[in-house]
Symmetry: C2
Subunit: 415 residues, 2 copies
């Protein structure tokens, strides 16, 4: 017999069907037992006189008759069932999955990820994550970006120096890539517009609700731009595509992405946030203040901050031609949290040589990367979206670990 | 003026247009100079009296009039051009890009990847790779597989023991994941069907034309199967979807994927390959012989080998119920090369305990993974496709490095 999903039951009244899944709940009443089966699509109620030893999370096949019952989930239930058990759970569960919310602490959930992720709320968050990722790709493919795969093992701890994981590469040191930045710029020389969805690694020994040592970076880079505003426009369309895909695929209600997201210059942002005029960067409290300001003044959950000071941005950042102490770099804040960093990059070889020399870096460590600019590059820029941060902010999760299947942090490297 | 792509020129006869790209070639004749511009879409010819100092690979904007000329690529050329140079190349190129094939040796190409990848042939291979990846996702989404992202940093060098890269994780050892195997099985408990496109890492110190230390693995795993044949059927449909996407997106002619790919049992495969009956695995020469056999006997570029001996497969492999010395594991050969490994997995907790105990492994190292089976799992299985191998075989590249943007091997970790 062909299996059907729980959500398809109502279309088969009075038919004998096969449903398969996990025993989500067993409710033993005086004269009857309700068994709720959970499958990939949803829940199905099975009615039986006696469920015997059946335990929650056991995996079963159930053949039964679809019988209308207004009080059952979906308006139908399975009656007269024959149950086959594929694997029986014979130990107590560390926590129950059938409550509306998981009551176990987050560390306990993470320790038992294989079980906790089965909870409908945890599962829904990961579906939203998958939908946002699909929307990212679709939005960029429609703008003729080409997908690339780049190395996660790199020769030198360039780009930022600190915060990289070192590994033993056949007896030599090598490092885990903190971002695909250099590679995606190199690939602009090949395809003009590229994107990558992949893991990035940060050896930051900070245990906060918004940091992970591995996270999923949604990177894009595009050539033949006028300046960073072309990048911001492409990013805005991409975020709109991601949110559209979330609603379309999961039904989750997303906030509106304005056709033009409000943008404030860094100097103005400091004033709005009530920060001293000589602050070189925005602290989390400043970001929250800017998020409130954008909602209040523009009715927007998003706000761009542009023109970050050059001294706080990486060496490949393009300065603002009108005031070179500021950059053509930007951040995008969503509900008062930075979820994207981007900007225009330098594109002339001599500018790279000058920038690296000024920072005292040896040019030789960047040889393969500098080839890109020595052999001709257009004005270009791009961005990196932190997927987990975006999804956490979207669904109102307090901690990025709630939207990551198997998070990694300084104290957690398992399961 | 709005930029148009080289391939759109013919639709704008006698109009003044803006084209941007790299100077692919400068041909200085006696009374005229032809400048070929390369952009993301193709090539455009510009005719001028004198191109001055213009050098190949410089990046330019050209405003000119679209003029029909049957001898020009695409049947049109740009006349009366004004050229603006964004970045000028003032060093000799290590090799020329405008020849039909790159004449530089592969090591030289890889040393100068930023330049070599701009060659239309290298670029086309990466586009085919991107198309195959998109086809993989689309085929699986249509079968209700859900995309997952899993950790690349793991606590213990399990799964195979050898061939893992060790890294310094805040003063403790940790390892780069050789595959998402454990995690995708855990996620079958959540979504029933999952897939992941991501990097995997192998510390194999072998410098062959088909091995890389990082490659892109196209992984899938599905629950509620009867046995490995359900996995093979899903894989066949997925490969067909990938090849369909390659042709649709790039025009590359792909071989037919049979609706049912021929399958031979391992014991039979040894006979066909002329190997001794006690061989525990297939050598590359045996795979080539099987590829020739499949083409000759079945007109198929593909052949499944099923029932590999249990002793050569990992501990989570499901045995063949009819003869437990053989497994429900399979490989898929494409043109005589293994490009996919897959099979049915164990799904009962007690089977895992027995398998790990038999191999002398400490159960504690697998605690988070074993949770999955302790708390109920359906019969399941899956596969891993090596993207670079598949694409190399498809386009006839002799070395996987030709279809990898920035390959990593024991002797190469840059650029």
């Amino acid at each position: 017999m062909q299996r059907i999903l729980s959500t398809e039951l109502a279309a088969h009244p009075y038919e004998k069907v096969l449903v398969e899944g996990w025993v989500h709940r067993v409710r033993r009443l005086k004269s009857v037992t309700f068994v709720i089966i959970r499958d990939a699509a949803g829940l199905a109620q099975v009615v039986m006189a006696d469920a015997g030893e059946l335990t929650e999370e056991s995996v079963v096949s159930v053949v039964g008759t679809v019988t209308p019952n207004e009080q059952a989930p979906g308006g139908v239930e399975l009656t007269g069932p024959e149950i086959h058990v594929h694997s029986a759970v014979d130990v107590p569960l560390p926590f129950e999955l059938h409550r509306p919310a998981l009551t176990a602490s987050l560390p306990t959930q993470l320790d038992h990820a294989a079980l906790a992720l089965r909870h409908p709320a945890r599962r829904a968050a990961l579906r939203i994550s998958a939908a946002a990722t699909a929307g990212f790709r679709a939005a960029l493919e429609a703008r003729r970006f080409v997908e690339i795969q780049t190395p996660k093992i790199v020769e030198s701890a360039t780009e930022s120096g600190a915060n990289v994981f070192q590994l033993d590469y056949f007896g030599r040191p090598a490092y885990l890539a903190q971002s695909p930045q250099f590679f995606k710029q190199m690939m602009v020389g090949v395809f003009e517009r590229v994107y990558e969805v992949g893991p990035v690694f940060r050896a930051e020994n900070s245990d906060t609700a918004r940091h992970l040592t591995q996270y999923t970076s949604l990177d894009a880079e595009m050539g033949f731009i006028a300046d960073h505003r072309d990048v911001m426009a492409a990013l805005t369309g991409t975020i709109a595509g991601m949110f559209g895909a979330v609603t379309e695929r999961t039904g989750f209600a997303v906030p509106e992405v304005p056709a033009e997201i409000p943008a404030v210059h860094f100097a103005e942002a400091l004033k709005i946030a009530g920060a001293p005029a000589d602050e070189p960067d925005l602290a989390p409290a400043h970001e929250r203040a800017l998020g409130e300001w954008a909602r209040r003044e523009h009715g927007s959950e998003f706000v761009f901050v542009t023109g970050y000071p050059m001294r706080k941005r990486p060496f490949y950042t393009h300065p603002d031609p009108a005031d070179p102490s500021y950059s053509n770099g930007f951040d995008l804040l969503f509900r008062g949290l930075e979820i994207v960093t981007g900007g225009q990059r330098l594109h002339r070889y001599e500018d790279y040589v000058a920038a690296l020399s000024a920072s005292g870096e040896p040019l030789a460590a960047y040889a393969g990367y500098l080839d890109t600019f020595r052999y001709g590059m257009p004005p270009h820029g791009g961005w990196a979206i932190g997927l987990e941060r975006l999804v956490a902010r979207l669904i109102g999760a307090a901690n990025v670990r709630e939207v990551t299947a198997f998070p990694r942090d300084p104290h957690r490297v398992a399961p």
